[in-house]
């Protein structure tokens, strides 16, 4: 009654072998080919990144007697200081040409957290003049930190521009 299960013919076995082979070929090829290169062989990478808390957005001010009276006795500090921090402005010039200008807002609902930035750019390998300017205090104009450096970058080398909060200096490494 039932259709007999036909045993596989030699052609079917060959077909199976070919299909298994095709499966292996697809995996074997695309698990390693074509090769991928993130950066051209004559380029280097500049990464500008920092996570830095700016200065308070405005000065502390003395509280009036009325304000102090409204506060619980244990919180009657003579000065009131703002929580909000200044946004951080950073500018990067490479070989005298502006390469990046970024304003990093302070994090947090009260804008009292660190400002962060991460930006990378490819540059040609070789000697470059790098100028970094950073402003972390909105209470006055101009940049608080400036670093001007000539660097020699090998192909594929990564130059990291960061801000060291301990020394309060822009670092290049």
């Amino acid at each position: 009654m039932d259709e007999r299960k036909a045993s596989l013919t030699p052609a079917a076995w060959i077909g199976q072998a070919l299909l298994y082979g095709l499966f292996a070929l697809v995996i074997g090829v695309f698990s390693g080919w074509p090769p991928y290169r993130q950066l051209a062989s004559d380029q280097a990478l500049v990464k500008l990144s920092f996570s830095h808390t700016g200065k308070p957005v405005s000065d502390c001010r003395p509280q009036t007697p009325e304000e102090l009276a409204r506060l619980p006795p244990n919180m009657r500090a003579p000065l009131r200081c703002p929580r909000e921090r200044s946004p951080i402005v950073v500018e990067l010039d490479v070989d005298g040409a502006p390469a990046l200008r970024h304003v990093a807002r302070p994090s947090g609902l009260s804008k009292d957290g660190a400002s962060s930035v991460y930006h990378r750019m490819a540059v040609g390998a070789g000697v470059h003049r790098v100028t970094v300017r950073l402003r972390d205090d909105a209470r006055h104009a101009g940049f608080d930190h400036v670093r001007d450096e000539t660097v020699r970058l090998a192909p594929a080398q990564i130059l990291v521009i960061d801000f060291d909060t301990a020394t309060q200096k822009i670092t290049l490494q």
Partner: protein, 510 residues
Amino acid sequence: MRESALAAWRRLEHGFDAAFGSAPNPLRQLGTLGFLMLWLLVVSGIYLYVVLDTSVEASWHSIEQLSRSPWSLGGLLRSLHRYAADAFVLLMLAHLLREWLFGHWGGFRRFSWLTGVPLLLFAFVSAIGGFWLHWDQLGQFSAIASAEWLDWLPFFATPLSRNFLDAAAVNDRLFSLFVFIHLGVPLLLVFGLWFHIQRISRAAVFPPRALAAGSVATLLALAVVQPVTSHAAADLSAVPGTLRFDWLLLFVHPLVAATSAGFVWAWLGATLALLFALPFVPQRAAPVPIAVVDPANCNGCRRCFDDCPYAAVTMVAHPNQRVGRQMAQVNADLCASCGICVGACPSSTPFRSAAELVTGIDMPSAPIGALRRGLQQALAASTSEQPIVVFGCDRGARVASLAAPDVAPFSLMCTGMLPPSFVEYALRDGAAAVLVSGCREGGCEYRLGQRWTAARLSGSREPHLRASVPRERVATVWADAGDEAALRRTLERMRSAAHAAALVEQPAHG
């Protein structure tokens, strides 16, 4: 467009049938093959986790050791782990494509579809996280590219990419996070797979043995011929050079580089949203009424409960309140309206003397009583001396195309709806032969209809075709839509056999 793509897929499946046979056809076993790859990943992954030193300094060395002896057990398992991951995503995407082509996303399949979509994400996250653990140049590139891509989202106060600014930034704690991602997300994947197959009864999580053996042998052969090796150790002071790049698992990084992080997030979000929305798009075809239980004719035998492919039937206390007596109950959300339960019901036998055949569980749109009436009428009206009855399936080869003066074709929702006693009934009622047809093995639209029908007709599953039925007058053809020629060939053979049998019988009667 989907129809023409489906036709092309069917042609491809039929081509594979010629090489593998119908049931073990890998294109019909994409889900089980995916499970096989997962088991391979688990087994090889356990070994690799044992030898992996999960620290920044030693991780690369512990994996590099395996690269130095690629044909050792560890080397082979390392290569097998990678190739099984590649195969897993290929099979997963092919499975998604097949289910889409066959329209398997809505109605009773909605749950399986929706629980399958997040698995796409889990699979790729697990796979990409695996590259980081090597901490070679490819892992370095992938980890940084992933961090940069994630940084586009407005969730992180400090960019994740800062974790990779220099060697001092990467510490063993970060490496613990890598391990957590590569072990935790696969656990989520397994958990999601458990949900994915929840509404499928008798879910297969292992392919047929021959196919499993062939697949494992293929990956092992690939591991021997082209062992996976590490790149140089990660060096955060330099951009990785030319990478042997796994495009199947890491394609998202070049895609971000070629477009933008925002574009790829938008593409991913839109793709997932479309996949999630698909089951909620109104269907053009009106829904078929679900199976209905008649308590008066249900004796609580549990056969419909056993045979339902989607676990839509449960057994509850019978309303007649006899102690221990049960009856079937149909869950409307799970019922596929396939009628396989009708074929399983012992009350569906056409030999019952009631003028109107009412069975224990029936399909309101095509009651079994109507099939008996139609069969009686067709045989009574037939002018042929050797009429042949053909029972087929709406989803398989079109039996209506066989209509002829000596052929009475009946197309059911699924061949599994046919109680085997109908075959005997047709022969006793004047049919010279009976042909039963359904989808190709392993290709049943309702998963188990063809399998249960073949088992019932061969006598290995209840309700079975009685041994006294002359098997030479019964034939089965498992043929998909478009395979009508196979039906016609078998029908022609049956005609000849019936004619020859009639010639033999004539002198005896004379």
